[in-house]
Each structure stands twice: as C-alpha cells, then as structure tokens.
C-alpha cells in the first residue's frame, strides 16, 4: 500500500485490526453534543420561549376557573404550578429528537464513537437547562399570583429544580419511543404523564408539607433518590428506544 505525503496532521488512514481501548474520551463526545444542542436552542429561541409562555398562561387560567378566593388559591398553588410544569415539559419534549430525526443528525448519534446513553444524557441536560430550569426560575413570579408565602415559594422552586430533571429524563424515553410517529405530541403525553405521577406527588407534596409544618426533607430525599435512579436508567432506556426507532 503506497502512502502519499500527508500535508496535515491527520493520521494516515490504514486498514488495521479493530482497536480496543482506543475509543476517545467519553466526555469529549458528550461535550460536542451538549455544545451543539445548546447552540441550536440559543439560536432558535422561539421554541423555548413558547413553552415558557404556555406555562405562564396555564397557571394563570386556574384562578380564572376556580375564583379568586385567597385561601383556596394558596392551597391550590403548588399543585397548579406543578401540573402546568408537567404539561409545558410535555410540549417541549417533542423537540428533543424530532428535529434531529428530520435532518439526519439522529442517525449520526447512533454511529458516534461515544456510547449512545451518554450522548442522550447530554441532550437531556440541554433540554432541562432550556425548559425545566427556566420554569423553576420563573415560578416565584407565578407564586405571587397565588399569594404564596416566601417560605412556600422557596420550597416550590426547590421542588421544581429537583423534579424537572426527572421530567426531562423520563420524558426522553417517551420522546424516543414516539420519534417519527404520527400524532407523536399527544401520544408522548399519554405515555409519559402516568410515569411521572410520583414526581408530581412528591414535588407538590413538599410544598403542602412545609405549609403544614411537617417538613419537606422526606419529599426532597425521595425526589433525589428517584433522580439518581433515573439518571442511570433513563438514558439506557432512551438509547434502546432510539435504536428501535431507527431500525
């Protein structure tokens, strides 16, 4: 095999026995996916802001529906904000894999040098930073509408910060299962909402518990435990679902 002089630093391509243990650093691939996804979202801000607006509107609808009685609103507040956060997350989850599917980037993820679950985790991280985290940060303003005490508001924000990553993780499984399917948006919600009921219960329950004087540490611990479990299992399930979808 003749070798041509190479003018750049690229290594000479050569048929070699498959190399073991020479796969590049795992973090490197994750970094590329993370940076790319983040850039895309930042340059297409309309998507992220639309979900945020939806969140705000839904929360504002509830007082219009049940009346402005302050005590009632205060009791409802955590549950309403949490349900709205669930719904807004379902909306934004459809864009987790759909765009990549349409422009062919999703296939390339399956052919990357880094294991797919890690790349999926990087995508979910970007998704959370640009949806769940934003919801959590804007929730104090909405808590004002319900006249929540500062302490309750703090617990609400904390529960959202802890719980919305779970929505991105578990929702990612649903997004992967429904990628490219007709009616994927509604179907995704149908699949994911039952699975995230525990997150809703403990998230909203934390606020109710703190208001009732019971303390919310148990709720937060349980949310934390579920988060750890999901951090490990959800990317694996999502990667499997993506392979099934792309066959």
């Amino acid at each position: 095999m003749s070798t041509t002089g190479s003018e750049n630093t690229m290594s000479e391509g050569r048929l070699a026995t498959p190399l073991r243990g020479e796969t590049p650093g795992l973090l490197q691939g994750m970094r590329h996916v993370f940076a790319r996804d983040l850039r895309v979202v930042l340059r297409r801000r309309a998507d992220a802001t639309a979900a945020l607006m939806f969140f705000i509107i839904v929360v504002s609808l509830f007082p219009l529906g049940v009346g402005p009685e302050p005590q009632l609103l205060r009791t409802m507040a955590a549950g309403v904000v949490w349900v709205a956060a669930l719904l807004a997350s379902m909306l934004s989850l459809t864009r987790l894999f759909t765009d990549d599917h349409h422009d062919g980037t999703l296939e390339q993820l399956l052919l990357a040098a880094t294991p797919l679950p890690l790349l999926v985790l990087a995508k979910m991280a970007v998704h959370w930073l640009t949806s769940g985290l934003l919801l959590a940060l804007i929730s104090p303003l909405l808590a004002l509408q319900f006249d929540l005490s500062p302490r309750a508001t703090a617990v609400l924000v904390g529960s959202l910060v802890l719980g919305t990553p779970l929505l991105s993780l578990i929702g990612g499984i649903g997004a992967a299962l429904t990628v490219g399917v007709r009616g994927a948006g509604v179907l995704l919600s149908l699949l994911v909402l039952p699975l995230v009921v525990p997150v809703l219960i403990f998230g909203a329950g934390a606020v109710a518990a703190s208001e009732g004087g019971f303390g919310f540490s148990a709720h937060f611990s349980l949310l934390g435990a579920m988060l750890v479990l999901a951090l490990f299992l959800a990317p694996l399930a999502t990667a499997a679902a993506l392979r099934i979808a792309m066959e």
């Binding site: 149908l190 009921v197 525990p198």
Partner: protein, 250 residues
C-alpha cells in the same frame, strides 16, 4: 435434552405450532372459567354471610378484588413476554404480550367500575381517591399507553419492540407509582376512606374471593389464547398453513 418433540418447549415457539396448541388448550380454560365462575358467584352471593357493617353491598368485592389482582398479574405477564421478546427477538413472545394487553386493560376497567359500585352505597360517592383505586386508574393509563403506542406505529416490528420496551419501563415504575400514591393518600387524610379496609374476612368470604380469582385467571388465559390465535393468523397470513386454516373456517 429430550428427543420427544412435545416436551421441548422451544418446539412451540414457532407460531404455527403454538396456534395448534392454543387451539387445543382453549376449550379447557373456557370450561374451567365458567365452572369456577359459577362456583365463586354462588359462594359470594349466596353462601358467604352478610357483613355486619356493610350489609350485602360488600359482595361486589368478590369481583372487584380478583379483577384488581388480575390486572396486576397480567401486567407482569405482559412485561415478562416483552422481556423475552426483546432478549431473544422471538416473534411469538411479542404476539403474546400484544394479546395480553387488552385483557389486562379490561380487568383494570372492571376493577375501577366495581370499585365505584362499592363506593356508592358504602361511602356515598361514585369515586373516592383511595390508594388502590387511584393506582388502578394509573395502571389503566399505562395499559392504554402500551396499546396506543402499538397502534400508532405502522411497522409491526418496530411497534412490537417499542411497546415491549414501554411495558418494561412501566413495570419498573409500577412499584414506585403505587408507593407514591399510598403516601399521597395517607398524607391527605380527609376522612379515613379506604376500600382496602375490607370487612374482616370470614373464611367463606376468603374462599369466595380465591375461587373468583381463579375463575378470572382461567378466563384471562382463555381470552389471551383466543386473541393470540387471531394475531398469529393475521401476521402469518401469507404462509400456506395459515391460508389453509383460514380456508377451513370459511
């Protein structure tokens, strides 16, 4: 390693052979279901004594509790076959999981309705947010999710695999969901409403529930076998044996 073909279970992994086996087994399960069902209803409606607190209205638990049990057992069975299908890429396993889902959903539905029928005379409301009823409701949503996902994907292979993965994800979640719902229920104690507080069990009551549970189990197996035969015929319809079978019934 037995040389007798009937004893080797992998023999029946071929849809054609399972079709025949299911056809032979089906009548037996059906008959058992009817016999046990009659026996269970007799015990439940006639033999078991009237409850002191709840009167005769409690008798609905002879259907409610077995249906609830079956709804959970079938979900586990469905998840089991889903796992087998994904692990071994076995067509028949996917078909079995596919066939079990509607029956499981039906059991959940019956459990919810009978729960409501029990709640009305006992607590005055058609629906109470009891831990078990709420879990059954979420279980129904999980079943509907698996069925909807399978129906939405046109390509059969992908539909089977996706629904199987969803069933497995669900089965991991079910304990978590049940635990969280129980927590939620005890925390929000309005009245101590609990349909799980069944009347203290006389022996005949327990017997009645067990007999009804067995009857429902036989029914579910029969229904699943019947459905899986239809699924096999539909998927294998291009094969000559299937066309013969279809022609024979025409």
């Amino acid at each position: 390693m037995s040389s007798h073909p009937r004893m080797n279970w992998f023999y029946y992994a071929a849809p054609q052979r399972f079709y025949a086996l299911a056809g032979r087994a089906l009548p037996w399960f059906g008959v058992l279901a009817v016999l046990l069902g009659v026996a269970g209803l007799v015990i439940g409606l006639a033999v078991a004594p009237t409850d002191r607190q709840q009167g005769d209205a409690y008798r609905i638990i002879f259907v409610h509790v077995p249906a609830a049990w079956m709804s959970m057992v079938i979900y586990l069975a469905m998840a089991f076959w889903a796992a087998i299908g994904l692990a071994f890429n076995a067509r028949l396993a996917y078909m079995l999981a596919n066939a079990l889902a509607p029956t499981g959903a039906l059991m959940t539905f019956i459990a919810l309705w009978t729960g409501a029928l029990w709640g009305k005379p006992t607590w005055g409301a058609w629906w109470v947010w009891d831990a078990r009823l709420t879990s059954e409701l979420i279980l129904l949503f999980l079943y509907v999710g698996v069925l909807s996902l399978h129906a939405a994907i046109e390509e059969t292979q992908r539909a089977d695999r996706a629904a199987a993965l969803l069933a497995l994800v669900g089965v991991v979640n079910v304990p978590i969901i049940y635990f969280s719902v129980k927590w939620w229920n005890t925390l929000h104690q309005g009245a101590s409403i609990s349909l799980t507080k069944a009347p203290s069990m006389a022996a005949t009551m327990l017997l009645g529930m067990l007999v009804m549970a067995l009857a429902l189990w036989m029914y579910c197996i029969a229904a699943a076998l019947l459905r899986v035969r239809t699924v096999i015929l539909e998927r294998e319809r291009h094969a000559s044996w299937a066309q013969q079978a279809l022609g024979a019934t025409a």
